[in-house]
């Protein structure tokens, strides 16, 4: 196979993967939201839906949701602008799926003379592409709000669009600081830069060269702005239930509502990926840049084993104690921790054993790269999961802002802070030279 064709297939596969990644995260996010909110509030959370007695810690509710939403009556309100009314949810969904294309999942590796990249599109403009695509999401909100012919929708849409536009400014400015530090807009280059350690005025510091350490203010600004951009609490005024019932998507039902719902969660996933990539080193494992990982395949293997064991053990324990708590309910509960946590752990161990049995201590040529990629993917996912959880965590901890507070924060606090941050960054960079 010639290299060009391989690259083409590689990119095609990665495009599909990156496109469906947010969709794969959506059920997880919904589950995390429900279960997380329950546990924060000392509740059990959803645990009733089952398939043949399997409840998967409430995960089966997502299937029930799908069935329910598909079977709901698909209403088009009278007096609505049909075209825009139908366009809005599709627009929203499409826009939320696009930005992930530029996120690298792991460092490129060489396998059998082929260079495999784990990134769908390595644009030069990189991060600007994310900004431009996410800012298009506001159209869906405005269209939905206006086309529904409902006052609640219209108010929700107006609030939401004003909010998104206000916070896009500080979001962009926060990123500008980062670009000044890394001197590039290409996302793969930014991530590669983050593998090293921080050097300040010629001295190396024992910190990874991550955005969060170079741009702490920028990180906070970006985080807050991304909460606002995704319309999440404490900035979810677009759908302030107490005033607007459900905001811009109040007139949407069935699949159209499902699309908005999914778009909202995939926006969060995208935000989590972007923050992890820009500020938390992306796929970089701290203190272990790609070259180090490639050089120590055995260490990587051991690390993978330990991590998988740890994950399986903790999850299995949690599954088990929660299963015991619900003793007396109908359905299979005892076997679940085994099947869905301990079994995965066992399989991982078995795979490693098989690996050892077939290759012995000397690993094949492709192994260091693949294992490094797996570990880096794990590192990225761990960061992404943390931010996903942060979204849920913040929502169930903080109350909602008032609209004037929201606007004051956006224009009078975040924007000046972002500008000051730029100034300071520029001064520091000047003194570095």
């Amino acid at each position: 196979m010639d290299n060009q064709l391989f690259t083409l297939i590689n990119i095609a596969v990665m495009t599909v993967v990156m496109w469906i990644t947010p969709l794969q995260f959506v059920p997880f996010m919904i589950w995390l939201e429900r279960k997380g909110s329950a546990i924060i509030q000392d509740r059990i959370g959803p645990n009733r839906a089952e398939i043949l007695g399997v409840r998967l810690f409430g995960m089966i509710h997502n299937f029930a949701d799908v069935v329910k939403l598909l079977n709901k009556e698909n209403i088009t309100p009278s007096g609505s602008n049909k075209f825009y009314y139908w366009l809005a949810p599709f627009w929203s969904m499409t826009v939320s799926l696009l930005p992930l294309l530029i996120i690298p999942l792991a460092a490129p590796i060489m396998v059998g003379g082929h260079n495999i990249v784990f990134q769908a599109a390595n644009f030069d403009v990189g991060i600007l592409y994310v900004l431009s695509i996410t800012s298009m999401g506001v159209f869906a909100v405005i269209l939905a709000g206006w086309a529904s012919n409902s006052k609640f929708s219209l108010l929700g849409g107006l609030r939401s669009s004003a909010q998104m536009i206000s916070y896009e400014l500080s979001m962009g400015l926060a990123i500008v600081g980062l670009l000044m530090v890394y001197q590039t807009t290409q996302v793969s280059a930014i991530v590669e830069n983050q593998g090293a350690l921080v050097t300040a005025w010629g001295h190396a510091l024992p910190l990874p060269n991550w955005g969060i350490f170079l741009q702490p203010f920028g990180f906070i600004l970006f985080l807050v702005a991304s909460f606002a951009e995704t319309n999440r609490n404490p900035f979810d005024l677009a759908e302030g239930e107490s005033e607007l019932v459900a905001g811009y998507h109040i007139e949407y039902s069935s699949v159209k509502f499902a699309l908005f719902f999914m778009a909202e969660y995939s926006n969060m996933v995208v935000a989590a990926f972007v923050i992890s990539t820009l500020f938390l080193g992306g796929y970089q494992v701290p203190y272990a840049p790609t070259e180090v990982l490639m050089a120590h395949p055995h260490g990587v293997l051991i690390a993978l084993c330990v991590l998988v064991a740890l994950k399986g053990g903790v999850l299995g324990y949690i599954f088990q104690v929660h299963g015991e708590r619900q003793e007396g309910l109908k359905g299979v509960r005892k076997a679940e921790p085994f099947f869905f946590a301990y079994l995965g752990y066992g399989l991982a161990l078995a795979a490693i054993v098989v690996l050892f049995l077939s290759f012995g201590w000397t690993l094949p040529d492709w192994a260091p790269g693949v294992m490094a990629a797996v570990l880096q993917l794990g590192a990225l996912l761990a960061k992404v999961f943390f931010f996903c959880w942060l979204f849920v965590w913040v929502r169930w901890t903080l109350p909602r802002f008032r609209y004037d507070q929201l606007m004051r924060l956006g224009w009078k606090v975040m924007l000046p802070l972002a500008l000051v941050n730029l100034l300071v960054t520029g001064l520091v960079l000047l003194t570095q030279k």
């Binding site: 509030q41 000392d42 059990i44």
Partner: protein
């Protein structure tokens, strides 16, 4: 008149992030405790486990019966008048019993409209309607089946329920043979 200055948050509080982080750790504490020790969550697994209803629960309506099994109600419509939800629909008719004169031909309570305020019980001069059937999970598949008819409301053994909504009842029936000295 005294004007009170609104101070709002001051000092470190004004810098929200600290308070935000404090709040986050508070909830995180709950998460960790609940994850590893779910028994501390006081949750009742509802359909399998049920808590006893408190004694003052206002339950489902019932129409009380006379000793001969006819409704005590005389279709005076005071409950329908008192009802803020307009959920009681009564149609009166002539009673064959000369001592009773008037009786309900139709007595429907639309449970979909009922707000369980208990005004009907307090308005009734004959203690003919009570809200003491301890059933608070009233649900069905059609609207029609939730309009309770006279027959349905009288389908009980006419015994006093002690744990129920029990406002003071009229001592003496004011009409019919009961009222005669």
């Amino acid at each position: 008149m005294k004007v009170v200055e609104r101070t709002g948050a001051q000092g470190a509080e004004k810098f929200y992030l600290i308070a935000v982080v404090q709040g986050l750790f508070l909830t995180l504490g709950h998460v960790i405790k609940n994850l590893f020790n779910p028994k501390r969550m006081s949750v009742v697994f509802y359909p399998e486990q049920k808590k006893a209803l408190p004694p003052a629960t206002r339950g489902r309506h019932r129409l009380m019966k006379r000793e001969d099994g006819t409704p005590r109600c005389t279709a005076c419509m005071l409950c329908a008048t008192a009802c803020p939800a307009e959920c009681i629909h009564i149609k009166a008719e002539e009673s064959p019993d000369p001592n009773i004169e008037k009786r309900p031909e139709k007595f429907d309570i639309d449970m979909l409209r009922c707000v369980f305020c208990g005004f009907c019980v307090e308005a009734c001069p004959l203690d003919a309607i009570r809200m003491d059937i301890p059933d608070v999970t009233i649900a069905d598949y059609t609207r029609e089946s939730l309009v309770y008819s006279k027959e349905f409301l009288m389908n009980h053994d006419n015994k006093d329920v002690v744990t129920g909504y029990n406002p003071p009842r009229p001592v003496q029936l004011t009409h019919g043979p009961h009222a005669r000295p």
